[in-house]
């Protein structure tokens, strides 16, 4: 683990309004994501047909596509107790929005506080855009200094067929009206990076 890179990551991520938390392992990260979803204000659901009204509110939801079956089982058990719905697939039916989403990054780029998500499925991409809070799990040992260090990874990833790689640095933002920075234009209103120790 490159400690200096981890420290730089924390500092730069904070610089783009990413909240950074530290957790011991993946299960703890799932707990944290669940807690964030449970504590979130109810999502402002959006209409999905022009001129239509938003759907009726349901229970709070946490999207968590792409988890290993045992991790998903663990999360679902915890979520049941917390009264939170876990959505692991079929995100197309949730275009009106949901409270939070949890996905795991493959790499962190310290220089820019960037989470790199690789091999994203449609569900993973949608989850990260439809939620109001995007929670990204990132292992500390996967944090490298900058894009130059990440290059070998990127080259390998892009050589693969039909691969989608995304660099995400902060929440969806715009400065299009009078150049005032505003978060949450089409995607998440906030980004949380959970740095995983092991």
């Amino acid at each position: 683990m490159d400690r200096e890179a981890v420290e730089t990551f924390k500092e730069r991520a904070a610089g783009v309004e990413t909240r950074v938390l530290e957790v011991p392992d993946l299960r703890a990260a799932l707990d944290a994501a669940l807690a964030i979803a449970a504590a979130a204000p109810p999502v402002a659901l959006l209409p999905t047909v022009p001129g239509g009204s938003p759907p009726a509110p349901g229970p709070k939801a946490l999207a968590a596509p792409g988890l290993a079956p045992d991790d998903l089982a663990y999360l679902s058990g915890r979520a049941l107790a917390a009264g939170v719905e876990v959505v692991s697939q079929g995100l197309r039916s949730r275009l009106a929005g949901l409270e939070a989403a949890f996905t795991v990054a493959t790499l962190g780029l310290a220089e820019t506080g960037t989470c790199v998500l690789e091999g994203e499925t449609e569900d993973a991409r949608l989850a990260s855009m439809l939620c109001e809070t995007h929670v990204v799990g990132l292992r500390k040992r996967d944090i490298v200094r900058g894009a130059a260090e990440g290059l070998a990874f990127l080259e390998r990833a892009l050589a693969r067929e039909n691969n989608v790689v995304s660099f995400i640095s902060g929440a969806s933002r715009t400065s299009d009206i009078e150049r005032v920075l505003t978060l949450g234009v089409h995607g998440p209103l906030s980004l949380v990076a959970l740095l995983i120790e092991d």
Binding site: R12, G15, V16, A44, L46, P47, T48, V49, P50, G51, G52, R92, L95, A96, G97, E111, T112, G113, T114, E122, R125, L126, S128, M129, A147, A148, L151, L154, E155, A157, L158, A159, R160, E161, N162, N163, V164, V165, S166, F167, I168, S169, G170, A171, S172, R173, T174, S175, D176, I177, E178, R179, V180, T182, G184, V185, H186, G187, P188
Partner: protein, 719 residues
């Protein structure tokens, strides 16, 4: 509402009355204030985001990489197409804008796509895609917030990165009120939420998405895309058909090359270390039909154009508009057609034709601020001059310009005329300024007093001046380039320079057969005349002895040092002479602070608070910023003022052609000066002295403006 929508719509981008439209823009106080604030903040934020990084090196890497890629663009296109096709992407190539537009509408028709969403793409603007899709029966929604706003208003973008920067929150609220049929206030957070709510159904219903791309990585068939809002990420995911439209110039060999651009692009564009989202799509994605359309539309033609091809290095960061003093005053609708800023002037000529570029190209004052900041190190000012020359060659220059172009390279004739002009001005001069302007120059041109021609030009006084000091010298021999302005209007500046050279044991030389450096002719697009003037001058200085060549007009020096070598690059005789001259040439302040050794103790303290204006061609052209400020501090209290390096608006004949803009630039400077509490403004260019001194002359509280040479000579301890 005090703000009128600009006169340019999507279908009629070019205002009919260009000067009228400039005046309208200048009168638009919201636009002026917004762009002013933007310019100041951009500068500070950009400096901060590059801090600790080797900015020049990063830019040099981009420019070398792009040159390499452009040199083998066909090969890269072939590689990309092969790799991407193997990964399921359907790759097309379009020769013209019309071809690309119909290609994309055909894709929509064949797919039965009715609802189309777009993420921001300047290339789509270039080909008029929205109109084409609408004609094919599609309902098109822009999803980038700024693009959506201007789509609702039926306008064109006024900035390549911030398309709606010309609009206030109230105008946006008004528009949103119309769309939602509900009252909207000017709260920006709430307005952004309106867009989130209104556009989500458009994403949900979309059959097809059209996006741009920032990179096409050849060795893996990958498209790379930068956005902040995340709209492209949604757009690329939801619809069953996606189309990426991009210029051939977006091809790069490898991911490493794309990353080299990514290190500069967001920093230069919006002073961000990176955009929020960077998406890399290697080939198609499961469940979608994915197309890439590569556009030529003049690009391969530009590639074959040795003098201008480096314009294709452009990565569309928009910085050349951000720093452009003219953009700052008139906005993007008058500083471009589709593409905006310095690169906009250039690409309009190559992509949209001479007719559209004619008015625009004259807009540039030649300050080089764009060239200095360009993410790809493009010589934007040089290419603008080249285009100006081509347009004027093709059109036959207007009568005044042709007359001047005949006269200026002919030193005797020109100087004779200047002397005549002095006689002609007699009845109207009063002291050092022309009091009542002749009719042809009044009206728009009355914003500054024009200086009177000197009674005796420097060249006529030279034999006497030379005779005063013929003894042996220990110091360097310095050949003086007088420049037309100093020779005929400000000979006192040159006399002061001679005193300063002599005070340190140097010898001043004045080659009598020197003439105009050629820059004013270049600015008028008079290529042949400029070349004749340059040749005459080059020969005069090459014949003259002298360890150094210097002058008091940085525009002349910049022309001689940075343009002559390129001008004569193919000439076996003049080429080496031009390089030799460039080596001997040193700006005046560097000469004083360096070889002549001016330092503490040589000058007495004037006791004045002195502000400094950095001339464009000195600060940026010759890259000299430290020495003049250090010299000022030797004889006064140097008082830094904001925007010291922003153009004063003179630009030679520019102030005659675009008096509205010239005045706006000047007023901004002088207002800042008045607020600073300075006793004196020092600068080191006769054009700036003419502009700013003339401007002060018509103000109530006049702050004197002096050339550096005069200021220093006045405070010499040993006169």
């Amino acid at each position: 509402m005090d703000h009128k929508p600009p006169s340019r719509g999507r279908l009629d981008r070019r205002p009919r009355d260009f000067h009228g439209s400039l005046r309208e823009a200048l009168a638009d106080s919201f636009l002026r204030e917004t762009l002013d604030r933007f310019a100041d903040q951009y500068k500070a934020n950009r400096a901060a985001v590059f801090e600790g990084l080797p900015e020049r090196e990063l830019i040099a890497r981009v420019s070398a990489m792009k040159d390499g890629a452009l040199g083998r663009i066909e090969e890269l296109y072939g590689d990309f197409a092969a790799k991407a096709r193997a990964k399921g992407l359907i790759v097309h190539r379009a020769k013209t804008a019309a071809e690309a537009a119909s290609l994309i509408s055909d894709i929509a028709t064949r797919a039965g796509a009715k609802n189309v969403i777009k993420s921001k793409s300047m290339t789509a603007e270039e080909i008029g895609l929205n109109e084409a899709l609408a004609a094919a029966g599609c309902d098109v929604a822009e999803t980038d917030l700024g693009e959506w706003i201007i789509q609702l208003r039926h306008e064109a973008p006024s900035h390549m990165v911030l398309p709606a920067i010309h609009l206030s929150r109230h105008q946006v609220a008004e528009e949103f009120q119309r769309v939602t049929k509900a009252p909207q206030d000017g709260d920006i957070g709430r307005l952004v939420k309106v867009a989130r709510r209104e556009l989500r159904p458009r994403f949900a219903q979309a059959d097809m998405a059209v996006t741009g791309a920032n990179f096409a990585v050849a060795d893996s068939g990958t498209l790379g895309l930068c956005t902040n809002e995340g709209n492209a990420r949604l757009a690329l995911t939801l619809p069953r058909v996606r189309v990426s439209l991009l210029g051939l110039d977006k091809l790069v060999p490898t991911a490493a090359d794309a990353l080299s651009i990514l290190r500069v692009l967001p920093r230069n564009a919006t002073a961000q270390p990176i955009t929020t989202y960077v998406s890399w799509l290697a080939g198609a994605t499961p469940g979608q039909t994915a197309h890439a359309v590569f556009l030529d539309n003049g690009r391969t033609g530009l590639l074959a154009d040795a003098k201008c091809r480096e314009a294709l290095r452009c990565v569309r960061c928009g910085a050349c508009a951000n720093v452009c003093p003219v953009y700052r005053f008139v906005g993007g609708h008058r500083m471009g057609y589709v593409y905006i800023g310095a690169i906009g002037l250039i690409l309009t000529y190559f992509f949209h034709g001479k007719g559209r570029a004619e008015d625009l190209i004259g807009n540039c004052v030649g300050c080089e601020a764009c060239k200095d900041v360009c993410a790809a190190g493009i010589d934007l000012t040089g290419i603008i001059s080249e285009i100006r020359a081509r347009i004027s060659d093709a059109n036959g220059a207007p009568a005044t310009s042709t007359l001047l172009s005949l006269v200026m390279p002919n030193r005797r004739l020109f100087h004779g005329l200047l002397k005549l002009a002095r006689l002609a001005q007699k009845p109207v001069t009063k002291g050092a300024y022309v009091r009542h302007l002749p009719a042809i120059l009044s009206g728009d041109h009355g914003f500054k007093a024009l200086p009177a021609m000197a009674d005796r030009p420097f060249r006529d006084a030279w034999p006497e001046i030379e005779a005063q000091d013929l003894g042996p010298k220990a110091g360097p021999r310095v050949a003086l380039m007088s420049g037309c302005a100093q020779d005929f209007v400000y000979p006192a500046h040159l006399e002061a320079a001679v005193r300063l050279i002599r005070a340190k044991g140097g010898r001043a030389l004045f080659p009598m057969d020197q003439g105009c450096c050629g820059l004013p002719l270049t600015m008028m697009g008079e290529r042949k005349a400029a070349l004749r003037a340059a040749r005459a001058n080059l020969l005069a200085f090459s014949r003259a002895a002298g360890d150094y060549v210097t002058g008091l007009c940085p525009s002349c020096l910049n022309q001689m040092k940075n343009r002559y070598p390129a001008l004569f690059a193919d000439d076996p005789v003049l080429g080496p002479l031009a390089q030799g001259l460039a080596r001997r040439l040193m700006d005046f302040s560097s000469l004083l602070a360096g070889p002549l050794g001016y330092g503490p103790g040589d000058l007495s303290d004037s006791g004045l608070r002195v502000a400094y204006h950095s001339p464009c061609h000195l600060g940026r052209g010759l890259g000299v910023t430290g020495p003049p400020r250090r010299l000022v501090a030797l004889a006064g209290r140097y008082l830094p003022t904001p925007g010291e390096d922003v153009c004063c608006g003179f630009g030679g004949t520019y102030s005659l052609r675009f008096p509205e803009i010239s005045k706006a630039l000047m007023d901004k400077k002088l207002d800042g000066l008045a607020a600073s509490g300075a006793d004196l403004l020092v600068t080191d260019c006769p054009g700036c002295v003419l502009q700013l001194g003339g401007g002060e002359e018509v103000r109530d509280k006049k702050i004197p403006v002096r050339h550096l040479s005069e200021f220093l000579a006045l405070n010499l301890k040993t006169p």
